[in-house]
């Protein structure tokens, strides 16, 4: 099966029902995408398919098709994506486990809505759970990322 991940073409020999998450983590070694719940309830496994945020833990690899997969490792070459910079500037992360998935969800949101409202941010990120609880900083950083994107 052929996959394009972070701009690179891969040929993988896996069962076609295997969730994309495990192809990324266990076959391709891209461990930035996290396994949280395995049943699309926590958002830690969020990646992009052609720019859309999906939960990779319930996305069978056969459903990817020709769509381009982007993971946290491929969001930017050097951590310079506005969401990554805003997250760093405002010290959003604590333990950091949920952040790769959350950052991917936030990046997808800004692509759709360059100037999101608080309600847009809450709606787009409500499926990304965090046990540390920096939700106020997350919202502030999403606004900051929007400013960085289009000053």
């Amino acid at each position: 099966m052929e996959l394009t991940v972070n701009g690179k073409a891969y040929e993988v020999d896996v069962p076609d029902a295997m969730p994309l998450l495990w192809v990324l983590r266990d076959v391709l070694g891209l461990t930035g995408t996290k396994f949280g719940c395995g049943v699309a309830q926590c958002g830690a496994c969020t990646v992009h398919l052609d720019g859309q945020a999906v939960r990779s833990c319930i996305t069978p690899v056969r459903a990817v098709g020709t769509r381009a997969v982007t993971t946290i490792e491929g969001l930017s070459a050097d951590g310079s994506h506005p969401v990554q910079r805003a997250w760093t500037e405002l010290d959003v992360v604590q333990c950091g486990f949920c952040q790769p998935g959350r950052i991917m969800a936030a990046a997808a949101l800004l692509r759709e809505k360059p100037r999101p409202t608080d309600a847009d941010i809450d709606a787009a990120l409500e499926g990304n759970l965090c046990r540390c609880g920096p939700y106020q900083r997350i919202r502030a950083a999403a606004h900051r990322a929007a400013e960085m994107r289009e000053p």
Binding site: P15, V27, L30, G32, Q84, W87
Partner: protein, 237 residues
């Protein structure tokens, strides 16, 4: 060297033994921290004399306490480079998932591993104290193997099989009436505790706490797969 054997009352001790203390406080690889401390100038912290007078730094000279500090770990955490316990990879790594006993104290009577072993990538099916483990090349194979295995396990539920929330609450209420060890006396404890109880679900961890272990001469264990791994701890092994 257990932490309680360290005397933390002296600045020169802290300076000399800083490496050992850092290792002990964050709680990993104590042998490595000890070895480091033995090589430190001045020798191991234990060799230092017991302090007589403790000189504390004046508040005006504080440079860190009371001031906000920028996080140092953001760059690797926002790029996916930060390594968590579940991200540890090494040659020969297998993934094991355990089908656990449905109640505490239950025992495996029998199981049939034929269907689990047919799943591509499953390497072994092994009985362990908490249930039956499926060992596989990757998580997906282990999970599919465990799904195939689960219905074949026959359990002896034992005494735990009869327990439910109602029975547990009744048991707690009964136990609360028995005399216990006395730490102090304040108010009417007997009346207070009559209505106490804890829902069983509240005491249960919501997430699994798996761990990664490398066996052999270079063995090492990475507990708690959702916690960040300290890089220098990894390279120390």
């Amino acid at each position: 060297m257990p932490p309680e054997s360290l005397d933390l009352g002296r600045r020169d001790f802290l300076t000399t033994g800083a490496a050992a203390v850092a290792g002990l406080i964050v709680g990993f690889h104590i042998p490595a921290a000890e070895a480091f401390a033995r090589q430190a100038p001045g020798g191991p912290p234990r060799a230092l004399p017991t302090p007589v007078e403790v000189q504390l730094k004046d508040r005006s000279a504080w440079s860190r306490i009371g001031k906000p500090a920028k996080r140092l770990d953001s760059p690797e955490k926002v790029t996916g480079r930060a390594l968590f316990g579940q991200d540890v990879r090494f040659d020969g790594l297998k993934v094991a998932l355990v089908e656990r006993a449905p109640v505490f104290g239950a025992k495996v009577v029998s199981f049939d591993d034929a269907a689990a072993r047919k799943v591509a990538g499953v390497r072994a099916v092994v009985q362990v104290p908490s249930g039956v483990a499926v060992v596989a090349d990757h998580f997906y194979a282990a999970r599919e193997g465990r799904r195939a295995l689960a219905p074949t396990i026959k359990w002896d539920l034992g005494a735990g099989g009869a327990l439910d929330t109602g029975a547990l609450r009744a048991q707690y209420r009964e136990m609360a009436q028995r005399p216990g060890a006395k730490a102090g006396a304040k108010g009417d404890a007997a009346a207070e505790k009559a209505g106490w109880g804890t829902p069983v679900a509240a005491g249960r961890a919501r997430a699994a706490w798996p761990c990664t272990r490398r066996s052999g001469a270079s063995w090492r264990r990475w507990p708690r797969c959702r916690l960040p791994v300290r890089r220098f701890a990894c390279t120390a092994s």
